[in-house]
Symmetry: C2
Subunit: 161 residues, 2 copies
Amino acid sequence: MGNSGETINRFLVEVFHEILRTEEESLAAYAPGLSLRELHLIEAVCLAEDGGGDNRSTAIAAARGVTAGTLTTAATLLERKGFLRRCRDEADRRVVRLLPTEKGRRVNGFHAAFHRELVEAVLGALTPEQAESFSAALEGLARFIRRKGAVPAGAAANNEI
Amino acid sequence: MGNSGETINRFLVEVFHEILRTEEESLAAYAPGLSLRELHLIEAVCLAEDGGGDNRSTAIAAARGVTAGTLTTAATLLERKGFLRRCRDEADRRVVRLLPTEKGRRVNGFHAAFHRELVEAVLGALTPEQAESFSAALEGLARFIRRKGAVPAGAAANNEI
DNA sequence: CGAAAATACTTTGAGAATCAAACTCTTTGA
DNA sequence: TCAAAGAGTTTGATTCTCAAAGTATTTTCG
């Protein structure tokens, strides 16, 4: 792969890791005692609320890619810390719905601002046409990942280490 | 932020998470009993070897952004599993150098192939000029993250939750 | 209707990965 | 030479995670 390929690959293996670390640091300064994973759970809950999405416990767990048990533990902790609240569904009393508290919405706003700045930093360096092809490239990557499962050819047939 | 901004942000919050999950799945099929974090440690060790980089324990820990203690534990486990080996430096006997075994190199090759496919999927969908501006945008993002620490304006001054 | 199956969530027990701090061994510098 | 600094390891605790077992509720169907 050429020079662009090198840059893209380095981005994938290094820079994203750095983004997460920076995000974590800025979070630690803003809301000590809240981990990035907890923040992302709050985000998922806020997103479900704003987007009119499914805010049932199971749906949130699926969105985050964790098991129901993991979600229960995390939600209990965030409830205790005052970022989320549980709400039993009256129509189907098996169901637990998750909602952000005011405090939860506030910390989610902080998080959204972080992402907004990140995106602005990227877009600011590009012409509108470049921005367009950039986002198209990302869509292509997303499609690739979702479609293929991305197992390198020959891996399954040659799986002895 | 406009429509491109939305795409970019969604990529940051969702697609990268999916990449990691896919990577984990394909790894599980190839090398059961090896976690993604372990794989990335092997990768760092191979990179230090190939790139003529610093392969001392501490340097690898810094590269992965973990403490020395964490690295020791992980390295011990990977040594037991046969992916890495330790090598005491003769010149300075405090130093421990980490090297991949043949098995370690093999699994790292598998991992590299995964990334190569990913990058090819992106580049394949772009013209050379688009590829160029894509990689420029990623460079811009990397610069932003490294320079700024990316704390949203006003966050430090207003840190009550 | 009413028992059996399915569903939604919680609890439990166990295993990574992580950190900070205390510790060991080795080198450096006054 | 000997105190201080450096490199790595060990220890004890915490967090995140999962699978599997458990509880409460609803749905299905005989």
